[in-house]
């Protein structure tokens, strides 16, 4: 090992004052010590290189790659949301976003950046702490001119090298909350969402669909972000471009919505609270869906501040609630057609069965009033539907019993989710003996059946549910899954195996509601036979559903469900007018939508007319000439 070479030494006896050969020989051990030390030093050094270069070269070559390759995300534009004719409902606007590179973040820079971007420092700091190994994070979208100027003037290596401007896309929603609940909105993925299994591939700072179609079809709409890769030097200067990965834009979503109908429905609900849904009962296409009060999704896009968010989320009017699928209210008299069908099918009544309505009736020692104080007199099923006689249906309910009612209601979809392609649909409630036993461990009291028979009591529905139920009846007892994606094939959920004459009896009753001086007469159209049924959800009287009350106001909610034409209906519309007091107040809303549908159809059939007369503006609800009479309440 140690190189101890012995050169031939010339023995010499010469003397010199410096000659200390013997002494020098004694140093042999010390020199050997030095040589061993040298060997140890070199082993120490080589083992250092061994560890870095042979044992973990990958760790360091990756680190070197991270050093030299700077990749900035190329954000994929989200797919547009279109109506059934391809008209754009939700679009994207190109803008710039501010991105921070984790490796270069200096904490002392953050207050200045937060300040310039109008962000809350603590929120920003928390976000950056949560980044983990994520290399970059977008902290601000849609930069203003001033903010862009700040970034551009501070971006260079000597100032704030962590900042990068990237092109991004800002979601553009219609103004004034138009169709807001259907399309939903996008926002930054939250911490709790990041922990969910379906968001496994998502990262902090990603924009995702938070509600409505944006959420339901997020994976189709979002596209795949690309990456621009450049070679940079230690000062962050670009040396040359590397192979980049292009962004794949998100797929456009073509919806079943009809913008014309949606516009009419929005206008009809102006200033009101409640919901309107229009759908084609033949295939489940949802043509329009409105919920009021609405919110402006444009405020939500991207990175909403915590303050703005709480403000909207805690509004007691619950503007974020999509009442069309999330309200849970007693259907009131809109439930009666189902009762009539159940009665006829079960044979407890036939088309000629009469009951006498003196303005109320007693069951199980309780007096149940009819809404018409002086009574309907002798009344059979057709008039009972069109006049909405409570006493008649008390008797039908008494004869059927709750479980028979529940059987037919279930076929019509009451108490079931419709399965519409929107998140957070509510189920509603259809009471039965089993339902009550399961929920309260109590027996069903026969008296409760009497309330359910007129759509009060424990039975609750969402507007979409009752629309689907009655629309399906009108379409010949076929129930299609309501859907908003035009590319989705119609899905037949259930088919009622009913006697055609029974069905016809019920439909003609509903025709009477509109056309024979019933409560829905305001829905009459000159050219089309409209059928429908009004209803009132008694806010104060509901017992099990008090929790679902929509507001502190105790005024009743008005319902109307209509469809047309009577034979083979093409369109069914529901209107829920919260605190609308009387059921007829919901009728003009539905009428406007139905009229708009058939006007458009006529225009398309005969373009000549369309050119001469532009589509009539929907009539504002306040100016309805056919003012309902006091006796018309149901």
């Amino acid at each position: 090992m140690p190189i101890v070479q012995n050169e031939p030494r010339h023995e010499s006896n010469a003397s010199s004052e410096h000659l200390l050969r013997d002494d020098a020989k004694k140093s042999g051990g010390k020199i050997a010590f030095f040589q061993y030390l040298t060997v140890a030093v070199f082993i120490f050094l080589i083992s250092g290189f061994w560890k870095l270069q042979v044992q973990n070269p990958d760790v360091y070559s990756e680190a070197a790659e991270r050093n030299r390759i700077k990749s900035t995300p190329l954000l994929a534009p989200r797919g547009k949301i279109l109506d059934r004719d391809g008209r754009v409902i939700v679009d994207n606007k190109a803008s710039y976003s501010l991105l921070l590179n984790r490796d270069q973040i200096k904490w002392e820079h953050l207050p200045a950046i937060a300040d310039a971007m109008g962000l809350d420092f603590n929120e920003l700091a928390a976000k950056i702490r949560r980044m983990g190994s994520q290399p970059q994070i977008i902290i601000k979208d849609e930069l203003t001119r001033d903010e862009m100027a700040f970034v551009e003037s501070h971006q260079d290596a000597s100032a704030f090298p962590e900042m990068d401007l990237i092109r991004s896309w800002k979601r553009q929603y219609p103004q004034d909350g138009f169709a807001a609940h259907v399309v939903g909105y996008v926002g930054e993925i939250s911490e709790s969402e990041l922990n969910l299994p379906q968001y496994l591939d998502y990262r902090q700072g990603d924009i995702i669909g938070k509600d409505g179609l944006e959420r339901e079809y997020d994976s189709d709409l979002r596209g795949v972000d690309g990456q621009e890769r450049v070679l940079v030097d230690s000062l962050g200067r670009t040396r040359k471009a590397e192979t980049s990965k292009e962004a794949v834009p998100g797929k456009d979503l073509k919806t079943t919505l009809d913008l014309d109908l949606q516009a009419v429905a929005e206008l009809a609900m102006d200033g009101k609270r409640g919901a309107v849904v229009a759908m084609d009962p033949r295939n489940g296409d949802v043509l329009a869906m409105v919920s009021r009060p609405a919110f402006d999704p444009n405020k939500f896009t991207g990175r909403i501040s915590r303050k703005d968010w709480t403000e909207i989320a805690q509004d007691k009017d619950k503007p974020l609630l999509n009442r069309a699928i999330q309200a849970q209210l007693p259907p009131g008299s809109t439930f009666k057609p189902i009762m009539a069908l159940a009665g006829l099918e079960e044979g407890v009544i036939d088309s000629d069965t009469d009951f006498f309505c003196p303005g109320g009736a007693s069951f199980y020692g309780h007096y149940y009033a009819c809404h018409l104080k002086h009574g309907h007199g002798k009344i059979s099923v057709h008039r009972a539907i069109s006049q909405s006689c409570d006493v008649f249906f008390y008797n039908v309910g008494y004869r059927l019993g709750i479980d028979n009612i529940a059987k037919y209601a279930d076929i019509a979809g009451i108490g079931r989710k419709t399965g519409i392609d929107l998140p957070n649909e509510t189920q509603g409630t259809m009471p039965s003996t089993r339902w009550k036993l399961r929920l309260t461990r109590q027996k069903w009291y026969a008296g409760e059946t009497i309330s359910v028979a007129i759509g009060q009591g424990a039975v609750t529905v969402s507007p979409l549910q009752i629309l689907s139920a009655l629309g399906g009846l009108g379409a010949g007892a076929v129930w299609y899954k309501p859907h908003l994606n035009l590319d989705e094939k119609p899905v037949l959920l259930r088919r009622g195996n009913f006697k055609p004459e029974d069905l016809q009896q019920v439909i003609s009753g509903m025709f009477g509601v509109v056309n024979e001086g019933g409560t829905g007469r305001a829905a009459q159209l000159p050219t089309v036979k409209v059928c429908g049924k009004t209803g009132t959800a008694q806010v104060a009287a509901t017992e099990l559903t008090k929790g679902a009350r929509m507001s502190s106001s105790l005024a009743n909610h008005a319902w109307f469900v209509g469809f047309a034409p009577m034979d083979n209906p093409e369109v069914a519309v529901v209107a829920l007018f919260e605190n609308g007091v009387e059921s007829y107040n919901a009728v003009p809303i539905v009428r406007d939508v139905l009229k708009a549908y058939f006007d458009k159809k006529a225009r398309e059939a005969n373009p000549q007319i369309a050119r001469k007369a532009p589509p009539a503006k929907p009539i504002p609800v306040a100016t309805i000439e056919d003012t309902p009479q006091p006796g018309d309440t149901d």
Binding site: N6, A14, L20, A24, S27, F34, T38, G48
Partner: protein, 361 residues
């Protein structure tokens, strides 16, 4: 004498030296391509060429003559160091250089040679079997004065390179184990106290040596980037084109203090082993000249040189792999720079001078 010097030079030592110099020049060329130091490689060739001449001249010169005048050399060194402090050129925040014409000379580099001679002279004169405390204190005193002056520049790295000269001298003169233990004890006790007297940047360097990830963009940067460069080299190296750490500026000074990082990145573990073997041979060849030296003084000179070279390699290469703190001392014969290159060649000249006079006649 001149021709004899040529014939009887330590040719193996010279071959190893020139091999290392060649590696150095190539590496300087590759590392500084397209940087503001792109002309450093041919300057280095000039330094090497002139260094070779100095080495040859010094080898013809009897080292005893130098030893006899070493007191004057020492006095001159101290004066020069004081002058450097007073009127030196400030570069990178410290005054280490004296301007001589268009050249800047780092005085502290040449003081090493004087110290090697002085320690050799003192020990040879004392002719002691083992050192006693007063002897050790005397030695520490004469080495300590220039050390403190260089430390004051401030140039902790170079001042530390005086320590191995002292340590080698003490070791070679003979030291009792008891003394050695006591000295080590003193060292352990004084280190924390000494830490207080360090400059903030020196403290940062020490802290970042212990924990480089604490502030990866600050003082730990050099260590981290150097380790990345070394690791990026892998077994066979990235070659001159793919060595991104070197060429994209992530290595702080790829042609001077961190030249071995960039060498390791471009030539990999294989290249590193070859280079280190060359250094090992260099040191061993110097040690061999110590063994054949005609007298104690010659032995002490060679061992001083060997110890100094070993220390340089240990601290510089150790720093490159993160096993030593960043002190900023160059790698002999590889790092670009005139003062260090010349001082190494002068030391090798001394070694050859000892060698040429190994036959006492």
């Amino acid at each position: 004498m001149f021709t004899r010097a040529l014939r009887d030079l330590d040719w193996p030592l010279l071959v190893v030296t020139l091999a290392l110099c060649t590696l150095g020049v190539l590496q300087i060329y590759s590392a500084t391509l397209a940087t503001k130091w792109h002309d450093a490689w041919w300057k280095q060739i000039i330094f090497i060429g002139s260094g070779l001449v100095m080495m040859w001249l010094l080898s013809t010169f009897d080292y005893h003559a130098a030893l006899n005048r070493v007191v004057y050399l020492y006095a001159a060194s101290v004066v020069l160091l004081i002058l450097t402090l007073v009127m030196g050129n400030k570069v990178f925040g410290s005054t280490r250089w004296i301007k001589a014409g268009s050249f800047t000379l780092q005085t502290s580099e040449f003081v090493k040679i004087v110290l090697i001679l002085l320690v050799a002279k003192l020990l040879a004169d004392w002719k002691l079997e083992t050192l006693a405390w007063p002897d050790i204190l005397k030695l520490a005193g004469v080495v300590g004065v220039p050390m403190l002056l260089v430390m004051k520049e401030p140039d902790l790295g170079t001042s530390l390179t005086y320590l191995p000269i002292l340590a080698c001298g003490i070791l070679m003169a003979g030291l009792r184990w008891k003394y050695l233990l006591i000295l080590l004890g003193i060292l352990v006790i004084t280190l924390p106290i000494g830490y207080h007297f360090l400059k903030p940047y020196q403290k940062d360097r020490l802290v970042s040596f212990i924990d480089p990830d604490r502030d990866p963009k600050g003082t730990g940067f050099q260590v981290i980037q150097s380790k990345i460069a070394v690791g990026n080299g892998g077994m066979w190296g990235r070659g001159a084109k793919e060595s991104s750490q070197t060429h994209l500026g992530f290595l702080p000074v790829p042609h001077t203090d961190f030249i071995f990082s960039s060498f390791a990145e471009e030539h990999g573990f294989v290249g590193v082993v070859i280079a280190l073997v060359l250094y090992f041979l260099l040191i061993m060849q110097v040690v061999q000249n110590a063994q054949t030296a005609a007298d104690r003084a010659g032995l002490y000179i060679c061992m001083g040189v060997a110890g100094l070279l070993l220390f340089h390699v240990l601290v510089n290469v150790g720093m490159v792999v993160g096993r030593m703190p960043v002190t900023g001392i160059p790698l002999p014969l590889l790092s670009s720079g005139g003062s260090n290159t010349w001082s190494v060649f002068l030391m090798l000249g001394l070694v050859n001078s000892v060698r040429l006079r190994r036959f006492v006649n």
